[in-house]
Amino acid sequence: MGSELILILVVIAGFSFDFTNGFHDTANAMATSIATGALKPKVAVIISACLNFAGAFISISVAATIAKGIVSPTVLVGGDGLELVLAALIGAMTWNIITWYFTIPSSSSHALIGGVIGATIVATASGDVNWHNLVKTVIVPAILSPFIAGGVAALGTYCAYRLIRRLGQREARTGYRYGQIFSASLVSLAHGTNDAQKTMGVISLALIAHGDISAVHFSVPLWVKLGCALSIAGGTASGGWRIINTMGNRITNVESPQGFAAESSSAAVILASSYYGYPLSTTQVVSGGVLGSGLGKANPIHWNVIGQMLSAWVLTMPGAGVLGGVAWAIADLFGAHSNAGAIVICLLAALAAFGLWTLSKRNPVTAADLDRTNVSPVEEAELAGIPPAIAAA
């Protein structure tokens, strides 16, 4: 019964993590479309939620592993493995909520890997972490990917504005807004494919460890797929307006050609690297793309916001790791395979989430605050620093 309850808690924590992943990462796909007024905020998140849901079913099978090649697979099995996965999920989820509270886009994938590593280090007190693979498969791609997306987006933006001289501001603004809907949708679909399936892998591993599904003829049960898809879609639909505001409005002022360039470049980098076996953080790639689109148009960049984001990226894995390790240590105080320990860490995580949610109400960001669909071309030009006479041309 002990491990059954822990399994149930792992499943609930997995779905909850997917929910936080959804509202944390809605910004990746839709922030620029909302910022340029291409879509109303609520319409944007509903489109994103539907595509996240669909994306979860795009590839049939899922790798039954988290932190593959980084943490020894033997630590993620049996009753201890279940508790470790639970602690890791709680660490990652709590980190997601903390960064959401501080309105900082950070990587949910890195939080999950950090949670697993932290819980593993505390649980085994040994070197069951392959640091070489961590650097090679996570850290180096995380450093390079925003530069690639940023460079490509800067080039795309520069070329787009060269063409706009022939097109005229009004046609360009309208045309690229339509384009943004497609490029943002592709990022949403890719996000659903990558991120929903990570949690499917976590829950499937827990089910295998518990003996509920076969380890030899591995396949993800339909209810797990549906649960993960619904959780990430539900999280996405709930908005995540705080991070959308940061990504769409606080890095730089984004116009529709820039938004299209940022999202297209991000989609290309994410899909190409995923195809070649380097799954990346969607958040970091899109942030790089938005920054690049600002540089490509020589817009002012809010470097203090970039500094906050970089700090959060550097701190994500250690931060989620510490939280995962603490969660494990608290559960361990109650003894091996203890229901009480698992329940206590879940309650503490729920309490922390509720506390931060309550605090966020003091300084709320709503969909209405972000709606730019009714902004007139002159107002938009003023925001972008374009003289009204040129904007009206």
């Binding site: 994306g55 080039l155 679909l189 380890a215």
Partner: protein, 101 residues
């Protein structure tokens, strides 16, 4: 220094990703811009020939953009991590690490 970089960076994959990103990112932005230009030329054309040329340009560019979206969805469906993981399952019968720690 180069050796260390080579140990951690797969240069071959990196260049492919950069190339794909340039084509799929900046390339699509440029092609979409020509699509809009084609529509504008067609709308402003004073002869039927000019109108058709504008629409032809827009049509070709539109097809390239659609092809890029289809290619993106293909890449999602065919990514390496979507292959069934058979090996990891074998490691699932393991002793508790608590007793040894």
């Amino acid at each position: 220094m180069t050796l260390i970089a080579s140990e951690f960076i797969n240069w071959s994959a990196l260049w492919r990703i950069v190339l794909a990103a340039l084509i799929g990112g900046a390339g699509v932005v440029i092609v979409f811009g020509f699509l809009l230009l084609g529509v504008k030329f067609a709308n402003n054309a004073k002869s039927s020939g000019g109108e058709w040329a504008g629409y032809a340009l827009a049509g070709v560019c539109g097809l390239i953009c659609v092809a890029a979206i289809v290619l993106g969805i293909y890449a999602m469906a065919k990514k390496p991590s979507s292959k069934p993981a058979k090996k990891t399952a074998a490691a699932l019968i393991a002793p508790s690490f608590r007793s040894s720690s």
